[in-house]
């Protein structure tokens, strides 16, 4: 009987180990299923919204004869399609908006009107695979390994086992390796099944599996280190749970607090409020107070700035843009701050392997802060294209036509 077969049989008869491995498999399966369901729901929602968005515009395009009305009443759906691996790490999709309905009005407030807080460093997110693999799996590994030797010492078998195995090498490594391997399979198996069902390729699943393996290997090392002290099983367990608590909860929380204090950030609501104040104030100001800063940005319309009526659409859209210009420094600071926080959090995450593994998975799933910021920039680019489309028609007073409406920019989802 080879050593591996012997230890597999032994493991198969260890009811406690089988229970923990069964829980690991169950947790991984449930997390993958929940992740797949969430992403499927998001896709269904997006598909429905895209259809509604298109149908609505078709109706609206027949209702208005003025470009000001068209621009005011027409909403445009923007969205960030989930990647095929997003099911495994929902990440920022939990806390940052991944769809907007925007108009050609002031933009920054539209982007941030749902931002109640800065979701820059997800400590513990939804029950997805990343949560199961990075937070729960280390606990299960601890339960599998904490008494590997100490239980044998307590039972009086330690010397017998060590002396008996003298010519065959240490039985402890084989036992531990088998448990670590089994746990890893219990995690990676459902991940691959979910990945293949969800359309994720090997180019994502292989590095994700590597992240899981390296993270589990780290915890194996921690268990081996604690085991070297020769403590009893309860002391081992207490020490290891303490280490888990430190790495998985306390250090990430401390990192979050540190990052927030080192990099102060305006919140999304502040941007929204400032912009709205700027836009609302414009109603009571002389028209020139709006048109001058507008023309600074758009000199090509300098010859069209005369506003003779109490209300003209070109003036209205100009002060919408000036509203954006007013909050530009704030918005830029917000973006820059989030990038700085993310970078700092990324560096400090090396102090917490679970947080590091979480970030690695979010990067693979395209659900991290960088992905959120990229989507926001795509929304800005689209909004800019909308303005560039509407301004000539508003300022020159062109009539609305079907041909012209067909030239209006359309938001395109990213390739998943």
């Amino acid at each position: 009987m080879s050593g591996l077969v012997r230890e597999i049989r032994f493991l198969a008869s260890d009811r406690a180990a089988l229970l923990w491995l069964g829980i690991a498999l169950l947790v991984a399966c449930v997390s993958v299923v929940l992740g797949l369901r969430e992403i499927a729901t998001q896709r269904v929602v997006l598909n429905e919204l895209i259809e509604i968005d298109s149908a609505e515009r078709e109706v609206l395009d027949t209702l208005y004869q003025d470009w000001g009305d068209v621009a005011y009443y027409t909403f445009h759906l923007t969205w960030d399609s989930p990647s095929d691996f997003a099911f495994a790490a929902l990440g920022q999709r939990d806390t940052s908006p991944w769809k907007h309905q925007i108009r050609a009005l002031a933009l920054e407030g539209q982007i941030y009107e749902t931002d109640a807080e800065n979701p820059d460093f997800a400590l513990i997110g939804r029950f997805d695979f990343a949560f199961a693999a990075n937070l729960l799996a280390p606990l299960l590994l601890i339960l599998l390994l904490h008494d590997l030797r100490s239980a044998e010492r307590t039972a009086g078998r330690y010397e017998l086992l060590s002396a008996t195995a003298a010519s065959q090498g240490s039985p402890w490594f084989a036992r531990a390796a088998l448990r670590v391997g089994a746990l890893t399979i219990c995690l990676i198996g459902p991940l691959w099944a979910g990945g293949l069902l969800g359309g994720a390729g090997a180019s994502t699943l292989v590095p994700a599996s590597l992240v899981v393996i390296l993270h589990i290997a780290f915890w194996w090392g921690v268990c081996a280190l604690v085991d070297r002290y020769g403590w009893s099983s309860p002391v081992n367990l207490t020490a290891l749970v303490g280490v888990w608590l430190a790495f998985a909860v306390i250090v990430p929380a401390a990192i979050k607090i540190s990052v927030e204090s080192i990099v102060p950030l305006p919140d999304g609501g502040e941007i929204l409020l400032t912009q709205r104040e700027a836009v609302n104030d414009a109603w009571d100001l002389p028209k020139a107070a709006t048109m001058e800063p507008f023309i600074e940005r758009h000199p090509e319309w300098a010859d069209y700035t005369e506003v003779s009526q109490p209300f003209e659409w070109k003036w209205y859209y100009a002060f919408q843009q000036v509203g954006d210009q007013t909050v530009e420094p704030l918005s830029q600071a917000y973006r820059d701050g989030r990038i700085r926080r993310d970078r700092l959090a990324g560096s400090l995450a090396w102090l917490s392997p679970p947080a590091l593994a979480e970030r690695a998975m979010q990067a693979l799933a395209d659900t991290n802060v960088a992905a959120t910021l990229t989507y926001e920039q795509r929304v800005r680019a689209f909004h800019k294209a909308l303005r560039e489309y509407y301004y000539p028609r508003l300022f020159r007073g062109e009539p609305v036509s079907t041909v012209s409406l067909q030239q209006r920019p359309q938001f395109r989802g990213k390739e998943s």
Binding site: M1, G3, R6, R9, F10, S13, D14, R15, A155, G156, R157, E159, L160, L161, S162, A163, T164, A165, A166, S167, Q168, P171
Partner: protein, 240 residues
């Protein structure tokens, strides 16, 4: 003839206490040597030192002429060890336990050999497939002894091998030990059972507080060591 086991001026410290003090003895092939003493006398410590689990503070121990500290693995390969109150795996049967431990030792043993060994220790056939957690202490001890027999090693270190056995089983064990010795295997057993030691051993060393305080050899032509003399010495030193 080379000594199979030898301790020379052996001293061992445990938790800052000297638990063996200048102990010397040697055992030749085919001998049964008993270390007799009360609780804490240093008997089990001696066995653990031969197995390399404890290092001598001074002096040395040799297995088959080789210093244990220089090659622990070689020493352990030459030894079958039966720990005190050996608890094999309760969730496995006798067969499964024997299979597991023999595989661990790299010994490939068939079912017939297992049955032969279990017959020799008189473990009931109907119990052999039952989980050992259902066994009595004596039954568990029999399986542990069977394991020691099945290990094809020249030396057996047995720590309280008759603990938990009934008088009939103790007699059977004594006969078994003699058979093994006659087959050339060397046995070092530790016990506080004066009567049993006198019946099975070729030589008894009396250990008290880590010091050898007496030695008794089986006289030529006799089937046992003088129990009365050992009893008197044991009681005298235990009361000292």
């Amino acid at each position: 003839m080379i000594s199979m086991l030898a301790a020379q001026s052996l001293s061992v410290m445990r938790s800052g206490q000297e638990v063996l003090k200048d102990v010397s003895f040697s055992i030749k092939q085919g001998e049964i040597h008993a270390l007799l003493g009360g609780n804490g006398a240093g008997k089990s410590t001696t066995l653990l030192t031969f197995l390399g689990f404890l290092a001598p503070a001074s002096g040395n121990v040799h297995v088959q002429g080789r210093d244990v500290s220089e090659n622990v693995s070689a020493a352990r390969q030459a030894i079958a060890y039966l720990p005190e109150a050996a608890t094999l795996y309760g969730h496995l049967s006798a067969y499964e336990n024997l299979h597991y431990f023999l595989s661990l030792a790299g010994t490939d043993t068939g079912r017939k050999a297992l049955d032969d060994a279990l017959d020799r220790v008189a473990l009931q056939p109907e119990a052999r497939n039952m989980r050992m957690e259902t066994y009595s202490k004596g039954m568990r001890q029999k399986v542990a002894i069977a394991l020691a027999i099945l290990r094809d090693t020249p030396i057996l270190l047995l720590d309280e091998p008759t603990s938990g056995l009934d008088p009939v089983a103790i007699d059977e064990f004594n006969r078994l030990a003699r058979d093994l010795a006659e087959a050339g295997r060397t046995i070092l057993l530790v016990t506080h059972d004066v009567y049993g030691a006198c019946h099975v051993a070729d030589r008894i060393d009396l250990l008290q507080n880590g010091v050898l305080v007496g030695a008794f050899d089986r006289p030529a032509g006799m089937d046992r060591i003088d129990t009365e003399a050992v009893h008197v010495a044991f009681a005298q030193h235990a009361g000292a």
